[in-house]
Symmetry: C2
Subunit: 320 residues, 2 copies
Amino acid sequence: MPDTSPIPVYLDCDTGVDDSLALAYLLASPAVDLVGVGTVSGNTSAAQAARNTLDLLDLAGHTRIPVALGSHDHLDHPYDGGAPHVHGENGIGEVDLPRAGAEIDPRTAVQLLIDLSHEYAGRLHVLAIGPMTNIAHALEADPSLPGRIAGVTAMGGAAMVPGNISPVAEANVYNDPQAAAALLAADWDVTLVPLDVTLEHTLSEQQRQQLLADERPFVHALGEIFDQYLDFYLPQYGERLSALHDPLAAVLAAGAFTPTIAPRVPVVVDTGTGPGRGQTIADLRGQRLGPRDHDGIRTRVVLAVDEPVSEHLVATILAA
Amino acid sequence: MPDTSPIPVYLDCDTGVDDSLALAYLLASPAVDLVGVGTVSGNTSAAQAARNTLDLLDLAGHTRIPVALGSHDHLDHPYDGGAPHVHGENGIGEVDLPRAGAEIDPRTAVQLLIDLSHEYAGRLHVLAIGPMTNIAHALEADPSLPGRIAGVTAMGGAAMVPGNISPVAEANVYNDPQAAAALLAADWDVTLVPLDVTLEHTLSEQQRQQLLADERPFVHALGEIFDQYLDFYLPQYGERLSALHDPLAAVLAAGAFTPTIAPRVPVVVDTGTGPGRGQTIADLRGQRLGPRDHDGIRTRVVLAVDEPVSEHLVATILAA
């Protein structure tokens, strides 16, 4: 019989507008057991991301999931102040959430991840939707970590499409290229979810209104949090839509859909300081006749997901 | 009245299988007056490219077009031996052409280009279909050169598709990243013709047979020259087709077609030694709603040519 028990997931995030929706999905999905959250600086500071995560979990009635503070600074440079023009000054679109009663976990995010990897040895899935700094530190602190991880899903990179922070670099990877390189070099199964797919799946204004209309304060707040974010994306899409960067990674980590195109290919990160800094260089040569896995490669790059992701996402959250 | 006189073209090439077809097109097109050729190492050595070009021109009955030898080595590294597995040991698919009576021009390619830029001041078009080493040397030797050039068309780079010599780099640019950077940084109008379009336009085996069947030795030889090249491309296309890298650049330089998508955007070249070496980084962010030119940018990147290029190419050569 196939194992249908929920997947224990450690979430590493920089909450974050779209992180909020990913979090909501993970809480709502019966396929997932969210067993811990670590935060990192990215969209906002690691501390603000922890605050936001605690408050969101509290509003959702999930007060026992540990939230641990991770790295404020990145491997080769300090935190740069985040993206307040995208995610708001507080990371969640200037929405004031009620302050949670729960406190931050006394452990670091690295220690939480390592502890969970023992508690759920062989089953724990790592979902990284921010810069991969904590994961890199965990790999350094405990090189045996990959052996206890069932799989890693990471939102990051841009394979065949332009970046969102430079012509070729996506923000999560650009914010810590060395950390992304460490994650991709480790001996575990990685599903990389780049802009190629996350920009193709969108939350509509109508779907945001569905969230807003929900009676539950948590779901209602998600609708509020996305208001400014849809303004930010308006020039790109020509209408009020939000890219589903982190939520798509969460949906794939939950196994809700199988990617249509996701070849296992070598991926290296440009960790230099030239114009390609932070680029995820996926070797997609020779794929003209169809996806082709390279032998011995454990990283698959998701290039297409031909499924109704946003409908599934919203329906799952509304049905929870 | 529009100026319908032929465009004087200086061709800089590394002949080369597909260079041969580009050359044939330039000779055949009534829109072009091929006024000089310089050679550079790339597909083969600069000297072999000059030999091939002289022999092709002689076979075509064009014995008065000057062919000048250009750089054997590149700006930051020596010539690496070319691509005999693609273009054959002699650069033209192992086809033995009759030795031309004409001799190589005593000038360097750089001097020829500079001389032609005075002779055809304001009208000369530069078509670069090899590594851009000669062009970079000419810009250094005479910084006033761009002011006398009507436009530059360069086959090179990969914007949104994988490279052909590394996951992100195309061979012409990879073979001399600094030279490509110099060409793109100069103050002239550049049409960059990258793999994004050159792989989409193909010469079929049937079209090769049309060339082979022609009674003229020059046109027949073109059909022979492409034989091995179609073998090389078989695994990529799944059938005997040849990408039309250099011929497409020639067709666009002749003004035969207007590209469907060709935004003017900043392009920088990764001249470092990391995994992105030789990549042409075109800033294509914000183009989701359609092509958008950046103010003050003189380089357009050709991303789509929705025209029957190969039919036009073959018909022009057969009709000459």
